[in-house]
């Protein structure tokens, strides 16, 4: 935006120059051409996909950095067994609670396990817990929200009261209850998926419903009805794409909140069970050594913070990029 404004003084500043030449002739063709090229580059007409990406990154550096961070964390998590200098639960009791050194990049914990290694493995849990339950709750929330907003009446009443109940219940408590009851039958990560997805859909469906309510009154929805488009198509082709910007923001806010919930649940001792590593669990286990060996708590805490922030910034950036209004202006 600032770049565009810069252009105005540039062009208006050039006008007197031509007047000074006394002939009122246009400026030299080369200058003119260069100026047009500059403008074209700014509008993005001459761009290939590669240039487009670079331009987007330049416009929104924070989002670009965030995307890079998230990508790096994902790659590290996938390649954890190859990169990690030690095994996930490998103990070296001789080197208990050793501070960061060349041998142990981020030091070791009370059982002599390498903190860096465990951070890498913990990233797997945190990312999966962040991305998958948010996606499930998003899916449920969108469908229920669209149905509630579009059909109205009894359907709306039923879905929204259900959402109210979900939202009025303390979500952490709900997660704990679900994990306790399901924990007997399934693996703790699957339980956490279920718990977090069940807690998350309500806020999504509220937002989608409110957008649907206003979008279904628009003239283009009426126009779509007038050409005989079916209800399902109106909902998914005409209304849903208009909700995308807010849905993306919701998702990128949901991901970090799921990561944080996982950390909380693991911190409370009902999430991921040792000896598996997760960032929340690592913070939990480090609490006794907070003053003697602060690296134990700091490393996972900073990891959580960086990933959560990166998702938030990326969400903001994505919303700008995906909005067709902002895209070409």
């Amino acid at each position: 935006m600032a770049k565009k404004l810069d252009n105005i003084p540039k062009t208006s500043g050039r006008a007197p120059v031509t007047d000074e030449s006394g002939h009122g002739e246009p400026p030299s063709t080369e200058e003119e051409r260069k100026h047009i090229e500059d403008l074209a580059a700014e509008i993005g007409e001459a761009d290939g996909p590669k240039e487009k990406l670079i331009r987007l990154c330049r416009q929104n550096p924070l989002a670009a950095i965030s995307a890079a961070v998230i990508l790096a964390v994902i790659i590290l998590a996938i390649l954890a067994p190859a990169i990690a200098p030690y095994k996930e639960a490998e103990q070296n009791l001789k080197a208990r609670l050793s501070p960061p050194s060349a041998e142990h990049l981020l030091g070791t914990d009370e059982l002599g396990r390498d903190v860096f290694t465990r951070i890498l493995y913990g990233a797997r849990v945190s990312l999966v817990i962040g991305i998958i339950p948010s996606a499930i709750s998003l899916f449920i929330g969108i469908i229920l929200g669209l149905a509630a907003g579009y059909f109205g009446g009894f359907v709306d009443y039923l879905i929204m009261r259900l959402a109210d109940v979900m939202l009025s219940f303390p979500s952490l408590l709900l997660c704990m209850v679900i994990m306790y009851t399901l924990g007997r039958y399934a693996n703790s990560i699957l339980c956490m998926f279920a718990a977090l997805a069940l807690v998350g859909w309500a806020s999504v469906s509220r937002v989608v419903r409110s957008q649907t309510l206003s979008l279904k009154e628009t003239e283009y929805v009426e126009a779509a009805k007038s050409i005989g488009v079916s209800k399902g198509k109106i909902m998914f082709r005409h209304i849903l794409p208009n909700c995308i910007p807010s849905i993306i923001v919701l998702y990128t806010l949901n991901v970090p909140s799921c990561i944080l919930s996982e950390s909380t649940l693991s911190f409370l001792g009902i999430g991921v069970q040792p000896p598996a590593a997760s960032w929340g669990l690592m913070v939990n286990q480090s609490k006794q050594f907070l003053f003697s060996s602060p690296w134990l708590a700091l490393a996972p805490a900073i990891a959580i913070m960086v990933v959560v922030l990166a998702f938030n910034f990326l969400g903001d950036g994505l919303r700008d990029v995906l909005d067709p209004y902002l895209q070409k202006q």
Partner: protein, 327 residues
């Protein structure tokens, strides 16, 4: 009888059940649109023009509903038809152009895709490529320059006139028998208005399609209509062939409307208006709805509702004045 007309609306009543009472937006309207003709529906804001059109398309918003009457499209009754059946007809046999070209296209979908959707929905195209070529052909016909590029444009990248052309292309792409245009040029400036009207007239002649054009602009009526219905407070007050309407205006309301058109000649300081306001549709009193604004109103006008009567061949009027004249 009804097969003579593409659209034959008889005694249509559309009401809104509000908390304050029943609003009869459309109160016994008869409209007939003959094949290949352009018929105008004129009236001021809130007189029920748009609701009449929406009743035909089955788009009456909640809490309104079509209470009674008959809407026959090419001999087929539309009132009481299931939503699914109606959706098959809408866009195919009858389609609609809306007032605001700015908001009647979905901002997040490319315009070409939106027009293509109609063809695919009504199975008028074999596949997506066939649909695209039909859309491009239609774009050319409605005068969209560089149709190939515009196909992939988003609505906000087009000007108002172009968007209205896209809307017309969308309405025409299935070659409907009837096109309903709800104030198609109100949001456009005058030069574009003339172009769009010319385009509609041209397409109507080429396709042999009928058009029901809703407007409050007498200029538009004079420009393109063959036959005109004048509506006031949910009722048709006068209907006549267009020249007859302008030359021999019968109803005092129509006369008022025609006098309200600003003129280049005469007193430029003074703009003729119809005194008073449209009556509240919630509390319609007995008698002629126009009686409180009419210079010729008598006690009878305030007591009884006049019926519609033919004044001469093809020209009908809802006013007691003509009974007295003995026409």
């Amino acid at each position: 009888m009804s097969e003579e007309f593409v659209l034959d609306v008889r005694d249509l009543r559309t009401s809104f059940l509000t908390n304050k009472g029943v609003v009869r937006a459309v109160n016994g309207v008869d409209i007939a649109v003959p094949p290949g003709k352009i018929v105008g529906l004129v009236g001021e804001s809130g007189c029920g023009k748009s609701m009449t059109a929406k009743s035909v398309m089955g788009l009456v918003p909640y809490p309104g509903r079509v209470e009674s009457g008959s809407i026959r499209l090419d001999g087929r009754e539309l009132v009481g038809l299931k939503d699914k059946e109606l959706r098959k007809i809408c866009g195919n046999d009858v389609s609609m152009i809306f007032q605001e070209p700015m908001t009647s296209l979905n901002p997040v979908l490319k315009v070409g895709r939106q027009v293509r959707e109609v063809l695919l929905k009504h199975k008028k195209a074999k596949d997506k490529d066939d649909a695209k070529s039909q859309v491009l052909e239609m774009f050319e016909r409605v005068g969209i320059p560089e149709a190939g590029q515009r196909y992939d444009a988003y609505p906000h990248e087009l000007s108002g006139g172009l968007r209205q052309r896209v809307m017309i292309a969308m309405a025409m792409v299935c070659h409907p028998k009837l096109l309903i245009a709800d104030e198609p040029t109100t949001a456009l400036d005058v030069t574009i208005e003339a172009q769009i009207l010319d385009l509609m007239k041209k397409l109507c002649e080429e396709e042999g399609m009928s058009v029901l054009i809703i407007t409050h602009n007498m200029g538009v009526v004079a420009e393109i209509c063959d036959y005109v219905y004048v509506m006031y407070a949910g009722r048709i007050v006068e209907s006549a062939p267009v020249f007859d309407l302008f030359d021999h205006t019968e109803h005092p309301y129509t006369r008022g409307l025609l006098l309200s058109i600003p003129r280049m000649t005469g007193n430029p300081e003074f703009l003729s208006t119809i005194p008073g306001v449209v009556p509240n549709m919630l509390h319609l009193k007995e008698g002629c709805a126009f009686s409180n604004r009419c210079a010729h109103a008598s006690d009878r006008c305030r007591r009884e509702t006049p019926g519609i009567a033919e004044v001469r061949e093809g020209h009908a009027c809802r006013c007691f004045l003509h009974e007295q004249k003995g026409c």
